[in-house]
């Protein structure tokens, strides 16, 4: 049974069909990248999986169960978390609290907390927050307000917030967008490390083909809302259809 499965997923905005009959699946421990030109429906697909958008038609299953009736926070509770394309952090709070919130949310977010218990008695929350910040290399900056971090570090924190949920499936929406080459290299290294350490299953949306080719077990290519190809990095590199649609004209 695949970890995540979408079945004939259709999303229309008025007359525009953003995803058209998309059926994809991700197995446990698989690293999948989602590529395609602008407007191909990548973000829409991610937003459908996180339940930010309702599909017009189709079905999404996680661990074999439909998630269409769930709210976004329930999806996180089930084990799907997402890192945003921009640094979506808690700016005025210290870095450690950013990580604590994420650890708290995934563990207890469904409102089972005691109003009068002290947070510092939740040892497991602190443990997860610490481990996460060490993984993303921000432990030394834990007392800094998140807003005061340099841009690259904010994006690492963003990834950390998604990781602190200890997800079974991590969705990453362009984790290196807008980064300098150094920051990009550091982020790729970070993803590689975390992937090895945590047996991470992820779905990555990324424009940088070098990253995609290096990091993925499998690549799914979207164009105009439809899956036009999928396969290993080698297969995708060889595919003429992909070259036409996606790399279209670049070689000519």
């Amino acid at each position: 049974m695949p970890l995540l499965e979408t079945e004939n997923l259709v999303k229309r905005f008025g007359g525009v069909t953003a995803t058209d009959d998309v059926s994809v699946s991700i197995e446990s421990n698989e690293r999948v990248s989602l590529i395609g030109p602008n407007g191909a429906g990548k973000s829409t697909l991610i937003n459908l999986i996180t339940r930010r958008l309702d599909p017009t038609e189709g079905e999404i299953r996680f661990n074999g169960e439909s998630i269409l009736g769930l709210k976004p926070h329930d999806v996180v509770q089930r084990g799907v978390s997402k890192s945003f394309q921009t640094a979506s952090i808690f700016p005025q709070l210290p870095v450690i609290d950013n990580a604590r919130i994420a650890a708290l949310g995934a563990e207890h977010g469904a409102f089972r907390l005691n109003l009068l218990s002290r947070l510092d008695s939740y040892d497991e929350v602190d443990a997860v927050a610490r481990e996460t910040l060490q993984d993303v290399g921000l432990w030394a900056e834990r007392e800094t307000a998140a807003a005061d971090l340099p841009y690259g570090d904010k994006r690492r924190l963003e990834l950390g917030i998604a990781l602190a949920a200890e997800p079974d499936l991590l969705l990453m929406d362009e984790p290196t967008a807008g980064m300098s080459p150094e920051e990009t290299a550091a982020t790729v290294e970070l993803i590689e490390n975390v992937k090895a350490e945590r047996d991470l299953t992820f779905l990555l949306v990324e424009h940088d083909m070098e990253i995609v080719m290096n990091i993925s077990d499998r690549i799914i290519v979207l164009d105009r809302g439809s899956v036009i190809a999928q396969g290993t990095p080698e297969e995708i590199r060889e595919s003429e259809r992909v070259q036409d649609a996606y790399l279209g004209g670049a070689d000519r």
Partner: protein
């Protein structure tokens, strides 16, 4: 490992107890200080009562980032609970009546919060205002039999208090000028309890979740937090404090009417909150103090008189301009500037634990 008896809480409660004890003396009795301030003991009690109201409101507005314009409803309902019990039912346990006022505050806040939190931002604020005004007009008209409209119910002090008249002084302490009345003593103890509960809420996971919602609501929901329910929790908590304060206010004023339901009260609490400092918890007491002082003391100075609202407006602008986080925030900043070589220019929003 965290200590079993949290030291920060002991410190906060100790300082609060000290402030509650010293305040009426400094304000109304102490040589020089009280002469300059022109304060009087009768004002000490309402300052604490409004302080509780504003502090509770700060949990919602300052910490969770939700601006409500309907909190007059809970304050009014608390007062009317106490008023109706004592006046209509001839109930002679004022403290039990105040406890029931808290419960009424909670229930009403749960209902209005449930309905208003379906929308965010300005729509939420307007919905709370609309519900608040609906309740005000209900109290004025259809429920006029219960409330006696704007004239209200007289809560006769002599029939109220059974064994100990609340407005009487305490032996030894009152002649020394330390605690002006039993009512002040009761209010002081409830202030202490309120501070303990509010402070603990902020130290609990809820405190962090509230701030998360204020900082980035969408992200909070995408880390798995059921944002809606936490917002409702903040709303209900602030409603509980408003009910408590409203109940005490009715006892103190000796009257419960429809007037405390009026939307102006919802505005007053916002003004007090901003004066004292949004998101500072203890600033609520400062804000309430400044406002009531202007209303009751400054307004009796000949030159100011009726123009106290104007003066308050000027003061408001000056404070907001100089200290964006209110008087409490200003004091805190001053202290960190004087107290240390200031390595903390990375200003993390503290939960007011630093005095």
């Amino acid at each position: 490992m965290s200590p079993r008896v949290p030291r920060d809480e002991l410190r906060v409660l100790g300082l609060t107890a000290l402030a509650v004890l010293a305040f009426p003396y400094l304000f109304a009795e102490a040589p020089v200080v009280s002469d300059v301030l022109n304060g009087y003991a009768g004002l000490a009690t309402p300052i604490l009562i409004w302080g509780i109201f504003v502090m509770g409101y700060d949990l919602l507005h300052g910490y969770t980032g939700l601006l409500s314009f309907g909190h007059a409803a809970f304050w009014g309902a608390g007062g009317m609970t106490v008023g109706a019990l004592i006046h209509h039912a001839e109930f002679s346990f004022p403290l039990v009546a105040v406890a029931l006022a808290v419960i009424v505050g909670i229930l009403l806040a749960a209902l209005i919060g449930y309905l208003s939190l379906r929308r965010g931002g300005i729509y939420f604020a307007i919905l709370t205002l609309a519900f608040g005004q609906m309740i005000y007009y209900t109290m004025l008209g259809p429920a006029g039999q219960l409330t006696n409209g704007e004239d209200g119910l007289i809560l006769d002090a002599s029939s109220l208090f059974g064994v100990i008249p609340l407005d009487a002084g305490l032996p030894v302490l009152t002649p020394l000028g330390i605690i002006p009345s039993w009512l002040y003593a009761v209010t002081g103890v409830l202030t202490l309890v309120s501070v303990a509960v509010a402070y603990r809420i902020l130290q609990s996971p809820y405190g962090l979740v509230f701030k998360a919602i204020r900082e980035n609501e969408q992200r909070a929901s995408f880390v798995g937090l059921n944002v809606w329910r936490y917002k409702l929790a903040a709303f209900v908590a602030s409603g509980a404090f408003a009910g408590l304060a409203g109940g005490l206010h009715a006892l103190q004023a000796g009257n419960a009417s429809a007037s405390p339901f009026y939307w102006i009260v919802s505005g007053d609490v916002v003004i007090m909150s901003i004066l004292g400092g949004v998101g500072t918890l203890f600033g609520g007491f400062i804000g309430a103090g400044i406002y009531l002082y202007m209303d009751n003391v400054a307004s009796s100075i000949g030159l100011i008189g009726d123009r106290w609202h104007l003066l308050l407006g000027v003061l408001f602008v000056v404070i907001v301009w100089l200290f964006p986080d209110g008087v409490w925030g200003g004091l805190r900043r001053l202290r960190s500037m004087v107290g240390s070589d200031d390595t903390t220019h990375t200003q993390t929003t503290d939960d007011g634990g630093n005095d």
